[in-house]
Symmetry: C2
Subunit: 361 residues, 2 copies
Amino acid sequence: MDDSQQLQQVRARIDALDEQIQRLLNERAELARQTAQIKQAAGLGENCFRPEREAEILRRVIARNPGPLSGQEMARLFREIMSACLALETPLMIAYLGPEGTFTEAAALKHFGHSVKTRPLIAIDEIFREVEAGTAHYGVVPVENSTEGAVTHTLDQFLISPLQICGEVELRIHHHLLSRNKALTEVSRLYAHQQTLAQCREWLDAHLAGCERIPVGSNAEAARRAGNESGCAAIASDRAREIYGLQALATNIEDEPGNTTRFLVIGSQAVVPSGNDKTSLLLSGPNRSGLLYDLLRPLADNEISMTRLESRPSRRKLWEYVFFIDVEGHMEDPKVATALATLKDQASFLKLLGSYPRAVI
Amino acid sequence: MDDSQQLQQVRARIDALDEQIQRLLNERAELARQTAQIKQAAGLGENCFRPEREAEILRRVIARNPGPLSGQEMARLFREIMSACLALETPLMIAYLGPEGTFTEAAALKHFGHSVKTRPLIAIDEIFREVEAGTAHYGVVPVENSTEGAVTHTLDQFLISPLQICGEVELRIHHHLLSRNKALTEVSRLYAHQQTLAQCREWLDAHLAGCERIPVGSNAEAARRAGNESGCAAIASDRAREIYGLQALATNIEDEPGNTTRFLVIGSQAVVPSGNDKTSLLLSGPNRSGLLYDLLRPLADNEISMTRLESRPSRRKLWEYVFFIDVEGHMEDPKVATALATLKDQASFLKLLGSYPRAVI
């Protein structure tokens, strides 16, 4: 059998597989439709998206995957399959921090797949309002993205909004070296956000060792300066490059390929446990020394890991600071529930922002 | 059986289906790997992407699809499946007209799926150069996109490049009404590209009947003007809104929801017939009256439909115009071959830019 016959045979087998896959995908869509009908008949609402169920399915897909497709690729395909099936019954509307083409849009599509409708909005409070009003099913907002400067608005909104956190998304971020000049050798000053400088240190030491590094408020600000000054460079995104008309002297210069940023999915529905969850809360108490230590004790006593702590000046006069805390586990888990009950007694202010599945892919 | 038990049962069936689907997807990936090995053993090159084969598969998927998933959704899923399988063996690098977040990036991902690597470049000639040099497998460039002004650069490159057209992509485009003002009633002048004004005429007649409509060179230029003048609006993309700091007074105002723009995939490989193809060519002849009529006769004589004709000033002194022509059919189809042979005798200059599958999804 020659190569061409062999190829024919393999292709015929692929074609046969494709028919089977297509049949199963339509069967799956039919079952998703049945799920929706059962729920609607039971008065369980029209929104059939269940964050905990999707997370469970994706985790199982990754766990049982023998290859050759990687677990990540397989999970990505299943995300799209679930997105297409869900769209048959409940075409989800997702509001996100726009414009089109931002990292937040990419995060929204990564989390919900490409079969949703999306609405880019220009301010974080608008996203909260749309979801509160029910004109969008979910919103996607940046929360740990120290180079884009949008985080604090998100945290501040949680102080006043009744919405819950329904999920988190992690996204890889790339940094580029941008300049008006055309060669690295012409660059003597470098602007970037402090954290970005840190994230690219190895590359900078190897390629721009003699160059002065000047931390500025944001990478967008760095790009703006590099657009005004000759002999300068900035570390920023490709988007900033276009807006300020700069050249990319080098791309993807971050030291860790795993440089990620984090987004939150907000909605009006509480999410039941998925088996691997996080819980976010807001905490405050009267301004005195040792407050935070006291507040954290119930977590430690119950062996609950904290994955993140951030403090923000409070908008209420009574306290000076509000703490945003992420812990491992679901608020229905016995240990977490115990810790939260104790915290509630000790803190002047405790607001549960939601329990949600840990990011899967 | 109560609702919750019914739900449990349906979910168990979905889980069982998912396992089968996952197994078949991995089998498919394994076969794709075998295809690559057979080809490499036979010295058929390392690039396993076959535009005609992908188009055939997608057309068959759409033709045999009984639902409930729509043919378009099903084809989209298969595009991603093929993308993931191909990436196992040949991780494709796709150069496109950047920056990230443009319509051209969306077109590249729609055509190649999300398992490819992409490289945004800032000029169309750079994309041709990268593909010619082999550092990118394919390039994606806009070709019929009268509102973004990049078309002519693409056509001019085809005059001098040895690359072939390997595919076409169609993409839906949305228009928004942008302004510095906050209400429609404050707007008395409207800027947009002539063609955009035409595409939004019904909406404008209904909502901005008394407003002066001023055609400008591009929608980006329209947005720039609306950013400088009060009482003005522009029709442009969400991206332009951000760059010029405008408000969206209304979104998706195009009359036809099918408002599409077209992109070409360029590469160094000729594509064999897929069964539903187009052929693009460049034609020129000595400057005399009736030239175009004479040039088009061989097409008419052979009953070949022309889907597009565009004339461009030639860069060579000998002729005044070069014609870019798209026809239905593959250059290996007997009728097309006959017409092309006749054309070659009559024209001073004939360049075949490639035969490629008509856009499927």
